[in-house]
């Protein structure tokens, strides 16, 4: 059972890396959503995965799942949910402002410097008048 989860983690991780390498912001965010779930699965598997036995329930001799990874994952899911909701709203805002989701086209913070040679004709035509 655990190898199935491991394969799933591998598949999801590769898919998310592929998505995150895209310069399309929406694809990147989908990758981010996927990879944060990969992290949650890693915690569950790493904490000792015991199928069919719940945490904290059972007698003294029953096999019980480790409750700590479940608590960690619960925390991580809540935090991840909040952050991803924020980023998705930000992505909508970005699309509204820039009218594109191509990250290579959004270069307002780091503009490619044009050579600063002032064209005399332009100055005469426009600004100096």
């Amino acid at each position: 059972m655990i190898w199935l989860l491991c394969l799933l983690i591998g598949a999801l991780a590769s898919a998310s890396v592929w998505l995150m390498l895209s310069r399309n912001l929406v694809k990147f965010l989908f990758g981010l959503v996927l990879v944060s779930n990969v992290a949650n699965l890693v915690i569950i598997v790493g904490g000792g995965f015991t199928p069919l036995s719940p945490a904290l329930i059972g007698g003294a001799n029953a096999v019980m799942a480790n409750a700590l990874p479940q608590a960690l994952v619960l925390t991580a899911i809540v935090i991840g949910f909040g952050l991803i909701a924020f980023v998705l709203v930000l992505a909508v805002g970005t699309y509204r402002v820039f009218d594109t989701v191509d990250m290579d086209a959004i270069r307002f913070a780091e503009p490619v410097d044009e050579p600063r040679i002032v064209d005399p004709e332009q100055v005469d035509d426009g600004v100096r008048s």
Partner: protein
């Protein structure tokens, strides 16, 4: 005294909440934030005094004994950085009270600064690695809000890159914690120290350590993963830039050192070369960016990386003297960077544009501003009698004692080469005559050819700087001057802090509550790194 730890953590949190519900439209929100910052400085000072006097303090949350519950721990390093962070944030809160516009203030700006501070305090004080992740998230969501409040196009562009790359770091951190928990079965840092020391080395710990290194490396803007920093730091309001430059990357380096020294003692030694290389590369890239840059804010943003590189070199060397030097550098870097960003903010009040050819003559307009700039800039360069000089002196001595030529040469050259961008900034901002209207027209002509050109610039002029901004910058500079004149007590604190990092026996005893007799004889723990 364990209530003090909780009080330090609760103060910014309660302040943030109080600031969010304070009435809009006036200065009440800023006042609440400033009062909370003052309280935190007092509490952090008390904590530092306690820790310096009687050793490591710890508190177990909810009364659960150490490895099972969440511990808060204040060792000398955490207490020192907590005090400096609180002091810098107080200066920034004073500065922000007068600098931030009403719309941002009403949207909760001052509250979000306190949220970031809550995350910083939590990350400094926590003794639990998952809790560290949670505080990083608190810091992150506060910084996201600060970056995007009232965003224009440029700010939004910087924010989306900052947020995207920091979220990747967060996921890596979470994965690393999951793997570490699976490997060691505990999350308490002190307990992890014990478990990892007894664990046979099977290569798995190296993998997990690498995950942590990359995650904290992104937070700290280390060499291959730094791209978010120069993309984002110059786009935000100047108060936010000062806050981020002073705190965020430093917390990344702190966490790297904390987890590295407590959990991955052997791996840190193995990664000595890697860390040194990353530190050097960060240093070189930061310097190159700063030297090539024409925009004032971006120049300072690049220079943040120089500080990170120097800090990492000290951490990589890892001897007691090198760590003490790094802690001095932590303090000096936080104060100087925040002060320089504040100077830029004030220069903009005098009519400065973002490029260096849109500024000048500030020495005549505001001599005190020139003095404040010069002191912090010389501190970053490392000339006496600034705190930066003492930090560099400690670095060079530590490097010579450990026989590390690379560290000595790198730190001295970094100081020398920092002269170029910072003194260019000084020449352009202060000594040069204010730009004449003709040259401004030319600049405008060049600008109007681009879409979305900047609005018409006003000439440099005398301006009344609000009292809060002056107090913020003045306070930081005064603290720097005091440290520069009397560095001995700070160095004693830094040496104390590095002794606890090198030999964490007091830390373990404070958290786990028993004398770790079997551990203190273990040579793998007390040995100093090469």
């Amino acid at each position: 005294m364990s209530w003090l730890l909780v009080a330090c953590l609760m103060t910014p949190l309660v302040t943030a909440a109080a600031s969010f519900v304070a009435p809009k439209g006036g200065s009440q929100r800023a006042t609440v934030a400033t009062c909370g910052s003052v309280l935190l400085v007092l509490l952090a000072g008390l904590l530092l005094w306690q820790v310096a006097g009687s050793g490591v303090l710890s508190a177990q949350m909810g009364g659960w004994a150490a490895p099972f519950g969440i511990s808060l721990v204040a060792d000398p390093l955490a207490a020192l950085l907590l005090f400096v962070s609180a002091a810098v944030t107080l200066a920034i809160a004073l500065f922000a009270a007068d600098d931030v516009d009403q719309a941002r203030s009403d949207a909760g700006f001052h509250g979000f600064v306190q949220v970031v501070l809550t995350g910083v305090v939590g990350a400094l004080l926590t003794g639990d690695v998952f809790n560290l992740y949670v505080w990083f998230e608190v810091m992150l969501i506060g910084s996201f809000a600060l970056m995007t409040l009232g965003a224009d196009r440029v700010q939004l562009d910087g924010a989306i890159k900052y947020i995207a790359l920091n979220l990747v770091a967060t996921v890596l951190l979470l994965t690393a914690i999951g793997l570490l928990h699976g490997m060691a079965g505990t999350l308490n840092l002190a307990d992890l120290h014990r478990v990892m020391a007894e664990r046979p080395d099977d290569g798995m710990s190296t993998v997990v350590a690498t995950f942590f290194l990359v995650a904290f490396g992104i937070k700290a803007a280390l060499f291959p993963v730094f791209a978010w920093l120069p993309a984002a730091y110059h786009t935000v309001p100047i108060t936010v830039a000062a806050l981020f430059a002073a705190l965020m990357t430093k917390i990344g380096v702190y966490s790297l050192l904390r987890v590295g020294s407590l959990v991955f003692t052997g791996e840190m030694a193995d990664m000595h070369l890697l860390l040194t290389g990353a530190g050097l590369a960060t240093l070189v890239i930061g310097l190159a960016g700063a030297i090539a840059e024409q925009r004032m804010r971006r120049l300072l943003a690049w220079h943040v990386m120089v500080s990170v590189g120097i800090l990492l070199l000290g951490v990589a060397l890892g001897t007691e003297a090198a760590l003490a030097a790094a802690f001095l550098y932590f303090v000096h870097g936080m104060l100087a960077k925040a002060a320089l960003f504040m100077v830029i903010g004030m220069a903009e009040r005098h009519g400065a544009g973002e490029r260096m050819d849109e500024v000048g003559g500030l020495q005549r307009l505001s001599p005190w501003l020139a003095a404040a700039f010069l002191f912090s800039a010389l501190s970053l360069i490392g000339l006496p009698p600034t705190p930066g000089f003492w930090a560099k002196l400690a670095y060079v001595k530590a490097g010579l004692d450990a026989g590390s030529v690379v560290l000595v040469v790198a730190v001295l050259l970094a100081g020398l080469l920092s002269f170029l961008p910072l003194m260019r900034l000084w020449n352009e901002m202060f000594w040069k005559a204010a730009p004449t209207p003709a040259s401004t027209d030319e600049a405008l002509a060049a600008l109007t050819r681009k879409p979305g050109a900047a609005p018409l610039r006003q000439p440099m002029r005398a301006a009344t700087i609000p009292a809060g901004m002056v107090c913020g910058l003045g306070g930081l500079t005064l603290l720097s001057v005091l440290i520069g004149l009397a560095p001995a007590s700070l160095y004693a604190l830094a040496a104390d802090a590095s002794a606890t990092v090198i030999d964490p026996a007091p830390y373990l005893q404070a958290v786990l509550g028993e004398a770790p007799s079997d551990l203190s004889t273990d040579p793998s723990i007390t040995e100093t790194r090469p």
